[in-house]
């Protein structure tokens, strides 16, 4: 069996996540992905914002930086730009990344700075008790949308692609193998690499939306995610209500810290 303990700060257990929360599944997938790549723990930094998802770094035995709500990407940008040899992983929630941190999200993607970003999308504000998020589906209930949400959700992965990210994938915690594979590919990619990971929040989301039982949420992920290859063959009607998963964009683009290194060489050469 895989030995997670070498990456885990067991002193911080038990973790804060509720029974049935998907965040721990992502933590394990991330650890397996890191281990598979032989990344040095001393030279890896994990940066997060605020939220249930953003508590992940506390459990991982690398350099960890738990910042302010929405600002993980700027802090991570500072770390990476100042010390490009460090391997920087960002963990953020849907609210953290696309509401309060939305501006940083599009600009970090535009800059194509070499960060690996894991966006845990649970369609809700988990930590603060189930308020509406920019990814809450229309019609779903939240503590601040007691009559059903009337706003359309963001396509978070699409947002990163159009802003300029070089690698964008979507995964879910039901299919953990795919999730781990997407994280590994993102870690390997030079450039802004996003993995949006669909993860159940039974407590704050499921309970209000007839899926209080965590199994229901996992079944929902199983039944409604469609791998990209299969997606291509679906008619618009068949795509209705389904979510595309897999690698959504993988392109070669100039990476920010590499470009800055060239700039330094150019200036120093003058």
């Amino acid at each position: 069996m895989f030995n997670y303990l070498k990456f885990i700060r067991t002193r911080n257990f038990p973790h804060i996540w509720c029974p049935g929360c998907g965040d721990g599944i992502i933590l394990k997938a991330l650890i397996r992905a890191i281990d598979g790549l032989d990344i040095s723990r001393d030279e890896a930094v994990m940066v997060s914002g605020i939220g249930c998802s953003s508590r992940t770094p506390g459990y991982v035995d690398i350099n960890t930086l738990h910042t302010t709500h929405g600002r993980a990407l700027p802090f991570a940008t500072g770390v990476k730009h100042a010390s490009p040899d460090l391997n920087v992983i960002v963990v953020t929630g849907d609210g953290d990344a696309t509401a309060i941190g939305g501006n940083h999200y599009i600009h970090a993607a535009r800059r194509n700075i070499n960060l690996t970003v894991l966006l845990y999308n649970n369609y809700i504000y988990g930590m603060t008790g189930g308020q509406c998020s920019p990814t809450t589906p229309r019609g779903d209930r939240a503590s601040t949308a007691p009559y059903g949400n009337i706003e359309p959700p963001f396509n978070t992965a699409g947002l990163a692609i159009s802003a300029g990210a070089s690698f964008v994938a979507r995964a879910d915690v039901y299919n953990v193998k795919r999730c781990e594979k997407m994280i590994r590919q993102a870690l390997e990619k030079d450039g802004f690499s996003l993995v949006e990971i669909l993860t159940p929040c039974p407590t704050a989301y499921g309970r209000r939306n007839r899926m209080a039982n965590p199994v229901k949420l996992m079944e929902w992920l199983r039944d409604n995610t469609v791998p990209v290859q299969k997606w291509e063959k679906l008619s618009p009607e068949e795509r209705e209500g389904k979510v595309r998963v897999g690698v959504l964009a993988d392109t070669e683009k100039p990476e920010f810290t590499a470009e800055y290194r060239k700039l330094i060489e150019r200036v120093q050469g003058e």
Partner: protein
């Protein structure tokens, strides 16, 4: 303007002097967002940093600029950001983060008139209390001021030294007049500049506690990437750096963070005084206003009025003891400032009722002239 540290005399703006001073102090990372009247600091850094292997980045806003500055500093690189009024407001949450996580960095605010967008191109001193209390929660802060391009250069170096020594964000308050006035700056030889850099942990990673209780209260934070895999958070934490709900640990840590500055007040506080020995009235002035105040003192003396001047160069922590000492001797303090009396409040606290404190305020974007100060002095003597 090129980087030159050969002890030469150069003409430059206060904002440029700030950038030059930062580089001399060892600053190798700058993140900013343009705003008048501070943009020349970012522009100078963008020009000068790459040549010495430093990093510049224009962020998408001031919240981002503050975050990037802190992130860079955690990797051991001396870091700075610069802004003005509205941008200073936006930086506040992460300034508090730097206080709580004890990350050294320098925040420059070239003050312009407010509130709100206010007067982008005109000077004020309206942010001196915001510098003290702008971020939420109990904390201490170090804030410096400067009255000229020369002093801006020197105070920027000092800001970095204090930040690194006390492991805390340090705010440097300039005003539009100081930032934009081009004047002579004597740039000292690099070898003559005192440079302080943060300490490195002596213990092994296994024994390392980033926020442990020390005699001075000042923590030793390892650079990221050097084998000390610790946790940094803005949540209340214990000596390990991990969040805690233990009320004893919470209180102990916050008190330590405040104490490391308050208990060392005497090593941080600094001021200049002139002609205070026989003075009957003290003009308390800081920033660009202190230049008018010096002329006012000379004018008063010519007319036989015994005026003296107290000019703090560090405004937070505030020099209450010095003010109290002078209050024993003089009848009145006159406090000219380009706001509605923000530092006069502190002077009033300092005098403890032993002297009168009279404000002279200007909030119309115009500088306070020496004659105005003299007039005020004449009213009170």
């Amino acid at each position: 303007m090129s980087v030159d540290r050969s002890g030469k005399v150069k003409m430059m703006q206060g904002n440029q002097a700030c950038a030059e001073g930062a580089i001399a102090a060892g600053c190798r990372f700058f993140a900013g967002y343009p705003i008048t009247p501070s943009s020349e600091i970012a522009e100078t850094m963008s020009r000068n940093l790459p040549g010495i292997g430093g990093k510049f980045i224009q962020m998408e806003d001031e919240l981002g600029a503050m975050g990037a500055t802190i992130g860079a500093s955690l990797t051991g690189v001396k870091s700075m950001t610069a802004t003005s009024g509205p941008g200073f407001s936006l930086k506040q949450e992460n300034i508090g983060y730097a206080c709580m996580a004890e990350v050294p960095c320098v925040i420059v605010n070239v003050m312009r008139g407010g509130p709100s967008t206010g007067m982008p191109t005109l000077p004020s001193q309206m942010d001196v209390q915001q510098a003290r209390w702008g971020t939420h929660g109990d904390h201490s802060i170090i804030a410096l001021v400067a009255c000229s391009a020369q002093e801006t250069y020197e105070q920027t170096v000092r800001a970095f030294n204090l930040a690194e020594r006390f492991m805390t964000p340090v705010i440097l308050l300039l005003d539009e007049i100081v930032g934009h006035t081009t004047e002579k700056v004597v740039i000292p030889d690099q070898s003559d500049i005192e440079i302080v850099s943060r300490e490195k942990p002596e213990e092994s990673p296994e024994d390392y506690l980033p926020y442990r209780e020390t005699e001075t209260g000042i923590p030793v934070l390892a650079k990221f990437g050097t084998g000390y895999r610790y946790n940094v958070t803005g949540l209340c934490h214990d000596s390990t750096g991990f969040p805690t709900n233990d009320s004893e640990e919470i209180e102990k840590n916050i008190r330590r963070i405040v104490r490391k500055i308050e208990d060392n007040r005497n090593q941080i506080i600094d001021y200049r005084e002139k002609m205070t020995g026989d003075a009957e009235v003290i003009i308390f002035a800081y920033g660009s206003v202190s230049r008018s105040a010096r002329s006012a003192v000379a004018m008063c003396r010519e007319e036989g009025i015994k005026a003296g001047i107290l000019e703090p160069t560090v405004i937070w922590p505030f020099c209450y003891n010095k003010v109290r000492e002078l209050a024993e001797q003089v009848n009145t303090f006159v406090v000219p400032e380009m706001n509605l009396g923000q530092m006069a409040r502190e002077v009033k606290l300092g005098v403890e009722g032993k002297a009168e404190v009279v404000s002279l305020n200007r909030i119309d974007g115009e500088p306070i002239k020496p004659a105005q100060i003299v007039e005020k002095v004449k009213e009170v003597v």
